[in-house]
């Protein structure tokens, strides 16, 4: 019935929505930022533990739509073990992919995150996918306690 939506709602997204990974409060986090999308009221809190410029742990709390939940869940998986610079680079690539700035998706770099490329065709939903990454960006820069997509 929802054939048209297969690119947007891939099975991986349903899976992460049903069973979000790293969905927990992190007691020993040394970065904690709240991301807010005033358009839809979605809120998430991102926790990072950064040791010597390497993200040794990432987790989140909050509630949102399937796209935003899957996006943050996938993100916490993929950034674990990456250096801050690597994570920033990934943020840029993800941003370009979801806003349609690059046609070619660098699959090697972006890996599983490619399942979120479908939001390009749904301008109203791009922010759902990028909220997690803007929150990560703020956490890496260590400037703000909370960010908003507007």
């Amino acid at each position: 019935m929802f054939e048209d939506l297969r690119d947007l709602y891939q099975e991986v997204i349903f899976d992460h929505n049903r069973n979000p990974r790293n969905f927990r409060v992190m007691d020993n986090a040394n970065r904690q930022v709240e991301g807010f999308n005033p358009l839809c009221g979605d809120r998430l809190t991102l926790f990072l533990k950064i040791d010597d410029h390497v993200i040794s742990d990432a987790s989140f709390q909050g509630s949102g739509c399937a796209i935003s939940t899957a996006s943050v869940s996938l993100m916490t998986e993929i950034v674990k073990g990456k250096t801050e610079d690597e994570a920033e680079a990934l943020f840029k690539q993800f941003h370009e992919m979801t806003t349609g700035k690059t046609e070619e998706i660098n699959l090697e770099a972006i890996g599983k995150l490619a399942v979120l490329a479908g939001v390009r065709e749904y301008p109203a939903r791009v922010k759902c996918a990028t909220l997690a990454w803007h929150t990560l960006d703020a956490a890496l820069k260590n400037e703000a306690q909370s960010i908003s997509t507007e």
């Binding site: 929802f2 709602y9 349903f14 509630s63 399937a66």
Partner: protein
């Protein structure tokens, strides 16, 4: 339902023939804005093709014609809400501008530090923020009458808020987020017993029920043209003449003056005192056409038809186990606000869109209502006179299918 000319009405709205993502459009976002009948579209085309010029300022024939049509629309609005005089009908851009006008003109001139304004817990941001701004400017206080879990105003609590410091009650006649229709007669009687004027936000009520401002005895009534099948950029502020006379202008400029020198300006009389600058001429004439259109069908018939639609939709929705209806007031207009267990309203909105169904997903410019129910957002299907039971069936089938897909 059989006497309601639904086929004819649907045929009058060209957009209802559109397909969205290869499916017939099912438009259920009427509380946000309604679609336009051919009569309104034709009216705008006709004005620009044959009768357009600026109004109130030309001796030439076209300007006279345009002025006649524009003032004719004012008379149509007057008759439609049964105001005593066209002097009481002020054209503005929408309900939002009308409320801001009252806040800044009436509020700033009549209220002072320590005074109180009473609103309700179910207001649209347009009936919250202008009062907050006024309160900040003059040191007045906003008091909020609570509601119960069904989304009904708690009348006793409301009445207890009215005191010697209360200088205005501003309340919605029908909630856009919940569908609740408030007992406005009772509200007005209680406020008037204490000499408190009442502003009714009629933005949602106006397309769904007959409104008689004299019978209601409200002091101000506001609505937007685009929600009653008219063009966007049009709105109406009704105010009792004595109140409007005493109020200072809201904006200064052309059309609202009698005489201007650099020393002193003498303002025009009502209603022009509040209509500075060139208005949305063709659109307001189009609003007149929209009013003719609904009047010909009959507001009581529209109300009865929509009540049946809502009943049907509610019954169908209640059969879906994981669906929670937000707003279950005993007296409700055609709005079905809901959430689904474990499925976010935005996903509902995108999924239904792929089936050609337009609903709204979000906070509906009523964030305090969302907070009250502890949800970030709801999905909202809102009905108009051109919707059908078949469309509700399509909606319900879509909801059932997406619940399945989400698993």
């Amino acid at each position: 339902m059989s006497t309601f000319p639904i086929e004819q009405i649907r045929a009058d709205f060209p957009i209802l023939g559109e397909t969205i993502r290869n499916k017939p459009l099912v438009y259920l976002d009427n509380a946000a804005s309604c679609q336009k009948p051919q009569a309104v579209i034709d009216s705008i085309v006709h004005t620009y093709s044959h009768e357009y010029a600026n109004i109130h300022r030309g001796v030439h024939t076209l300007s006279v014609r345009a002025t006649d049509k524009f003032e004719g629309a004012r008379e149509k609005v007057r008759a439609f809400i049964n105001a005593a005089s066209t002097k009481e009908i002020i054209f503005v851009r929408g309900a939002t501008e009308a409320i801001n006008l009252v806040a800044q003109s009436y509020g700033k001139s009549q209220l002072k530090a320590g005074d109180e304004i009473v609103i309700s817990a179910m207001e649209h941001h347009a009936n919250i923020v202008p009062w907050q701004m006024l309160c900040q400017q003059i040191g007045a206080f906003l008091r909020v009458a609570p509601m119960n879990q069904q989304g009904e105003l708690l009348f006793d609590e409301f009445e207890q808020l009215l005191n010697a410091k209360t200088k205005l009650v501003a309340i919605t006649q029908m909630s856009n987020a919940l569908g609740t229709i408030n007992p406005v007669e009772q509200i007005i009687a209680a406020a008037h017993a204490k000499n408190i004027p009442v502003l009714l936000d009629g933005a949602q009520a106006i397309p769904h029920m007959a409104v008689d401002v004299q019978a209601l005895d409200c002091d101000f009534y506001v609505f937007s043209g685009h929600k009653i099948y008219g063009p966007s950029g049009t709105g109406v502020l009704y105010g009792k003449q004595a109140l409007l006379e005493a109020m200072p202008p809201y904006q200064g400029g052309g059309d609202m003056i009698r005489q201007v020198t650099f020393e002193k300006t003498e303002y025009a009389g009502l209603p022009h005192k509040f209509e500075a600058g060139t208005p949305a001429i063709a659109e307001i004439i189009g609003l007149g056409a929209a009013i003719d259109y609904v009047t010909a069908i009959g507001m009581d018939k529209i109300a009865a038809y929509e009540a049946e639609l809502l009943d049907y939709a509610t019954q169908q929705a209640e059969q879906i186990k994981s669906l929670n209806i937000i707003g279950q007031a005993a007296h409700k207009g055609g709005i079905l606000s809901f959430t689904l267990d474990r499925i976010h309203p935005h996903d509902i909105g995108t999924m239904l869109d792929s089936l050609g169904i337009a609903i709204r997903a979000g906070h509906h410019c009523a964030m305090p209502v969302m907070d009250f129910y502890g949800v970030p957002a709801t999905a909202r299907a809102s009905f108009a006179m051109y919707n059908t039971r078949q469309e509700i069936d399509v909606l319900m089938q879509g909801i059932k299918s997406l619940i399945e897909v989400f698993g």
